[in-house]
């Protein structure tokens, strides 16, 4: 069992249910094979689609001939780029360059796996048979995959309207960065390469589309997860009114980690396909399609330099980065680049910085939200440089971090880039991490190991965990003048809605506008409502099916950017508090006592002085439903409350490009000990401690699960997985044999501990923690391996650190040419 110790913050109210690990409500159906994922839905007379994909990385489509495919028995419909060009509009793209991005290739194919045609047939087997009969003629063009080479003048151009393949270029400056570099005692520089890997949920994209030719309504069942800006974007692409476009999300989604935000091009494709036929059309993405053409994390080359004083204080930094977003700038990209803008200084008191951000298109799969979303890139650069500072000054890397931390008395802390860190105690959390890891003892163990010639390393990585994205942050990708234009619609905010109702017999039902993919929302919501209404979680039924026609939602709805634990729980808690007030007022009215004297205990109300005269909750609820005219004067009929919680500080970016890109900011400190096998180069994680401050903890075991899952994604990208392309743009990792996700035998045990600095901005003081160590684990692994290799004078500036790569680093250190 993993060692877990946590400290309770004094002044924390002792909750009955919040803070306890109650059994999960979702488990019974999932454990007995009665879950409802999209592919389990039984839609009558559903037919199946298959998509023909480009084998070329860059080519002009000269001819498509579907005749042989269409007269295969059982085939009933098809679309190609021509239909898409004629009947849909390009997706709106955030950046300044007017790139044309459609759900299917219309003129050229720009990455291997890009959809070229789609077929509907009686079953998936027949649809794939039909794909083999489609004849396509391509005129191949040279391909480019390296982001730095893609911007050179000789590079092939993907989009005529996008010069030098640069989809977005912004230089953001904060504070006085030149002064910082002048005052510095020394400057450190590194070129760092962050790899392209993907969260790869086990359930692939899944869509069922049904078009009503008479009413004009289009219904799309899918494992879509938000944000719901994708609803207007899809409606606009399909030239269909939003109130005619219905998204239905079933109760169960098989993991997402951000990926299923990028399903909307396929929603558009299936929508158009279902308009060609009179039956519902189901498309279940297969694993090869997913690994080739769903969504991947941006790969990045960055040049970072830091200005440092002789006692290790970081005065400022400059970063020039090249983010490789693949063939199309697909909304919400370039969010990888701009999402962490509010917390780009991490947990440190850096005041001056400049970011030269180049968002580059190449002939690779388009990128999109993945777990960590930009923060793994950020903290890989930041923490590698922190270790370089320690190395230069011969200081303990822990000490360098302690010197630079933002101090507890400075919260809420406004960062130079406009982020507002709500709460935290970084030194305390970091000390707890050192204690949990037993840092001193591990350094001693390292000393003895090194005397035996063993390659033993200790890595540290800390980071601020941003959650609840402010919908306005992405507009910092636009020049400030663009944002001043009169007909430009500024964007901001982060909200969530919850509806709670009590039925005539006094049981509680909660409706959400979240789309959970395994985070246990039904359980957490039942805990919160039970706490506020003084019931038990088993009295609370939570419905998390989502239906844009029935559920109340806003542009920022959905389950992404670890938002539910703060914005979702706040909406639920507020709705429960309001409903509690109402039932207490009805009870006081029926008991003829003042509302302050009403006591509620095991489902009965009574006046404090007259405990024997009590009425049951079902009586109060019954009154509200059966006898509404007996309610207190002016009280609204019914027992249901809908509350929307919105963050007040989620403003649009100001003229100086400052924006509070997220609304709650947690803290993480990871420590890891590793050993490298000198013969094979294989890295083994010997020990891993991880401390998190996610504000008020609601369900400890669910939080621990998020930390374990997040850490595993980070370790996967640092040691195992990578989407690899050859120089001609062919993807070489389209199976799970070649795209190497770690299994149980590769997973470490983690000693997890917490501190709780409640957020002043959320109702329960809770913050998001869904991405957690997916942001810091890659940096921690890199620092640990670098530490293990430092006696040999080897530097680590690139991931993944596969056995082959580590062996090559060892060879270069041992003077052999590899």
């Amino acid at each position: 069992m993993s060692k877990k110790s946590g400290e309770q913050i004094p002044g924390r109210t002792d909750y009955k249910w919040i803070g306890k690990s109650i059994p999960r409500h979702e488990d019974a159906r999932l454990l007995t094979g009665r879950g409802t994922f999209v592919d389990d839905l039984n839609i009558p007379n559903v037919h199946h689609a298959a998509i023909l994909r480009s084998p070329h990385a860059h080519a002009r489509i000269s001819k498509i001939d579907l005749s042989r495919a269409l007269n295969l028995k059982g085939v009933i419909g098809s679309i190609t780029g021509a239909d898409v060009l004629e009947r849909t509009r390009p997706f709106s793209v955030v950046a300044t360059s007017p790139m044309q991005y459609y759900c299917m290739a219309t003129d050229k194919v720009r990455f291997v796996g890009e959809p070229v045609a789609a077929i509907v047939a009686r079953d998936r087997y027949l649809a794939e048979d039909a794909l083999d009969l489609i004849d396509v003629e391509y005129e191949t063009l040279p391909a480019i995959v390296d982001p730095e080479k893609a911007v050179e003048s000789a590079a092939p151009i993907l989009h005529e309207e996008v010069p030098n393949n640069i989809a977005c270029h912004r230089v953001l400056s904060y504070g006085d960065v030149d002064a910082a570099f002048d005052q510095a005692d020394f400057v450190l520089r590194e070129r760092l390469v962050f790899p392209r890997y993907t969260s790869m949920p086990l359930e692939t994209f899944a869509i069922i589309s049904s078009y009503d030719h008479f009413g004009g309504g289009l219904t799309l069942w899918s494992n879509f997860m938000g944000p719901f800006i994708m609803h207007p974007i899809t409606a606009r692409a399909l030239n269909i009114a939003e109130n005619k476009l219905r998204f239905i999300v079933p109760p169960d989604i098989g993991g997402s980690f951000g990926i299923k935000t990028s399903i909307y091009p396929y929603l558009t494709l299936l929508g158009l396909l279902s308009m060609q036929v009179d039956v519902p059309v189901k498309w279940i993405e297969d694993r090869r399609e997913h690994l080739l053409a769903s969504s991947v994390q941006t790969d990045r080359v960055s040049y970072r330099e830091v200005a440092v004083t002789k006692n290790g204080m970081v005065l400022g930094f400059r970063t020039k980065l090249y983010d490789n977003v693949g063939a199309y700038l697909r909304t919400p990209e370039p969010a990888t680049t701009f999402r962490p803008i509010g917390n780009v200084v991490g947990p440190y008191r850096v005041k001056n910085l400049q970011i030269d951000a180049n968002v580059v298109v190449t002939n690779k799969c388009p990128t999109g939200p993945n777990r960590a979303y930009g923060c793994a890139h950020l903290y890989f650069e930041q923490e590698r440089l922190m270790d370089k500072v320690a190395e230069k000054l011969k200081l303990d890397p822990a000490e360098v971090r302690l010197r630079n931390f933002i101090q507890p008395d400075e919260f809420p802390y406004t960062t130079p880039t406009g982020g507002i860190y709500d709460s935290g105690d970084y030194p305390k959390a970091f000390q707890l991490a050192l204690k949990t890891f037993d840092y001193e003892a591990m350094r001693k163990q390292q000393k003895t190991a090194r005397t035996d010639g063993r390659l033993f390393g200790i890595g540290i990585a800390t980071g601020v965990d941003p959650s609840v994205s402010n919908m306005g942050y992405l507009t910092v990708a636009l020049d400030a003048e663009v944002r001043q234009h009169p007909d430009y619609l500024p964007k901001s905010g982060a909200a969530e809605t919850a509806t709670i109702k009590i039925d005539p017999l006094g049981q509680v039902t909660v409706g959400l506008s979240s789309t959970p993919q395994g985070q246990g929302h039904e359980t957490i919501v039942a805990q919160i409502v039970a706490e506020e209404l003084e019931l038990s979680p088993d009295d609370v039924t939570v419905i998390d099916e989502f239906d844009t026609a029935k559920s109340i939602w806003s542009i920022s709805s959905g389950t992404y950017s670890s938002r539910f634990a703060s914005v979702g729980t706040s909406a639920v808690a507020n709705a429960a508090k309001t409903l509690r007030g109402k039932i207490f007022r009805i009870a006081a009215h029926l008991l003829k006592v003042n509302v302050e004297d009403v006591v509620f205990e095991d489902r009965r109300f009574y006046g404090r002085e007259t405990p024997t005269q009590s009425i049951k909750l079902s009586h109060v609820a019954g009154t509200a439903h059966w006898n509404p005219n007996d309610l207190p004067e002016g009280m609204e009929v019914g027992l249901n409350v809908t509350e929307t919680f919105s963050f007040p500080l989620a403003h649009a970016p100001d003229q100086k490009d400052r924006v509070n890109s997220s609304n709650t900011y947690g803290f993480m400190a990871d420590l890891m000990a590793v050993e490298i096998d000198p013969d094979t180069g294989k890295v083994k994680i010997l020990k891993y401690a991880s401390v998190h401050d996610a504000g008020t903890i609601i369900h400890p075991k669910i939080l621990e699960g998020q930390i374990y899952g997040g850490a595993m994604h980070g370790i996967a990208g640092a040691l195992f997985e990578q989407q690899i392309y050859d120089d001609e743009g062919q993807c070489l990792t389209a199976t799970l044999v070649d795209y190497e996700c770690p299994f149980a035998t590769e997973a470490p045990k983690i000693d997890i501990a917490h501190i709780e600095s409640p957020s002043p901005f959320t109702t329960l003081g809770s913050k998001g923690a869904g991405e957690s160590s997916s942001e810091t684990a890659p940096a921690c692994v890199a620092n640990a391996v670098a530490d293990a290799l430092s006696p040999l004078g080897v530097n680590v500036t690139e991931l993944p650190l596969t056995p082959n790569r580590c062996w090559e680093l060892l060879q270069s250190a041992r003077g052999q040419t590899t």
Partner: protein, 296 residues
């Protein structure tokens, strides 16, 4: 990822199977365990129009020993080898090698004949056949023939088996009773296809000199190979650590691997040597412990 359509036959005798192969020719394919064939069919990389399922030929599943050789029916499951006391008693190398194959669910269906005829150069069973000079028996329209592993493997996924032939038995010589053995593999994840692997067998005389050395290497050539230079070097030597290191070095100079997405040629070349040394260390240790047992 659905397979193309095919005609399906499930013969219950070998002759019936051979007749079907003759009748359907080039595009007929034998379905044994299916753990390598079906993934390739689902990817539509392989598109047989006729499948001859030999899982109903019950008398092709057996393990028995005759004149110091294990005779194993072609559709004997990997899992059957794992749990067979006969294999445990007379061929530790086979047992250790089988346990490295994929995962339990793969070994439940995977067959001995299937994985040898599939001839994946990183697979464990072909390497064991090479290390112990095993043979396979092929049955065709005009009778049967027994082929040694040296003549069986041609290149990637290719053996000398004719489209009309079926492998009905694999013959693996028994490990010499005083031999030490070890199967050492390097994979990035447990159960992966091996980046490189070494099946080692060592026999020593009473004053600890090596009298017989077998080193079969996987992952460095289109087929499993024997590292003959290193084997010749070992015979006659006392197996000190320096000897074992030198044997490893010889193997890495002997092999000419390819690069791919999992490993560079240089890295595989190095690994073949490093794994040889590790395999020999374990084999020598087993050799000593078996000798101690025999003295007791």
């Amino acid at each position: 990822m659905k397979p193309v359509s095919f005609d399906y036959f499930a013969p219950t005798t070998v002759n019936e199977a051979v007749a079907l192969l003759e009748e359907h020719g080039e595009d007929a394919k034998i379905l044994a365990g299916g753990q390598s064939l079906v993934p390739m069919m689902n990817f539509r990389l392989v598109r047989p129009t006729c499948l001859v399922d030999i899982n109903q030929i019950k008398d092709l599943a057996y393990i028995h020993e005759k004149d110091d050789r294990l005779h194993i029916g072609a559709i004997t499951r990997h899992r059957d080898l794992e749990t067979s006391t006969l294999v445990q008693q007379c061929n530790g190398l086979l047992l250790e090698g089988v346990q490295l194959i994929g995962h339990t669910a793969i070994r439940t269906r995977g067959t001995v004949g299937g994985s040898i005829i599939h001839a994946d150069p990183t697979a464990e069973l072909p390497a064991i056949l090479a290390a112990l000079d095993g043979e396979v028996r092929l049955i065709g329209p005009n009778g049967q023939r027994t082929i040694s592993w040296r003549d069986l493997f041609v290149t990637f996924f290719t053996t000398v088996i004719e489209p009309v032939e079926i492998c009905d038995e694999v013959i693996i010589p028994r490990l010499p009773s005083d031999a030490g053995w070890a199967f050492e593999e390097f994979t990035r994840r447990h159960g992966d296809f091996a980046v490189a692997g070494v099946a080692a067998v060592i026999v020593t005389d009473n004053n600890d000199r090596c009298t017989d050395a077998r080193l079969a290497i996987t992952g460095t050539a289109p087929t499993p190979i024997r590292a003959t230079q290193a084997e010749l070097f070992l015979v006659g030597k006392s197996l000190t650590q320096t000897t074992l290191d030198e044997a490893g070095r010889l193997v890495s100079t002997e092999v000419e691997p390819e690069s791919d997405v999992h490993a560079t040629a240089d890295y595989r070349k190095h690994l073949a040597g490093a794994l040889t040394t590790r395999a020999l260390q374990r084999a020598v240790a087993r050799c000593h412990s078996r000798k101690d047992q025999q003295e007791k």
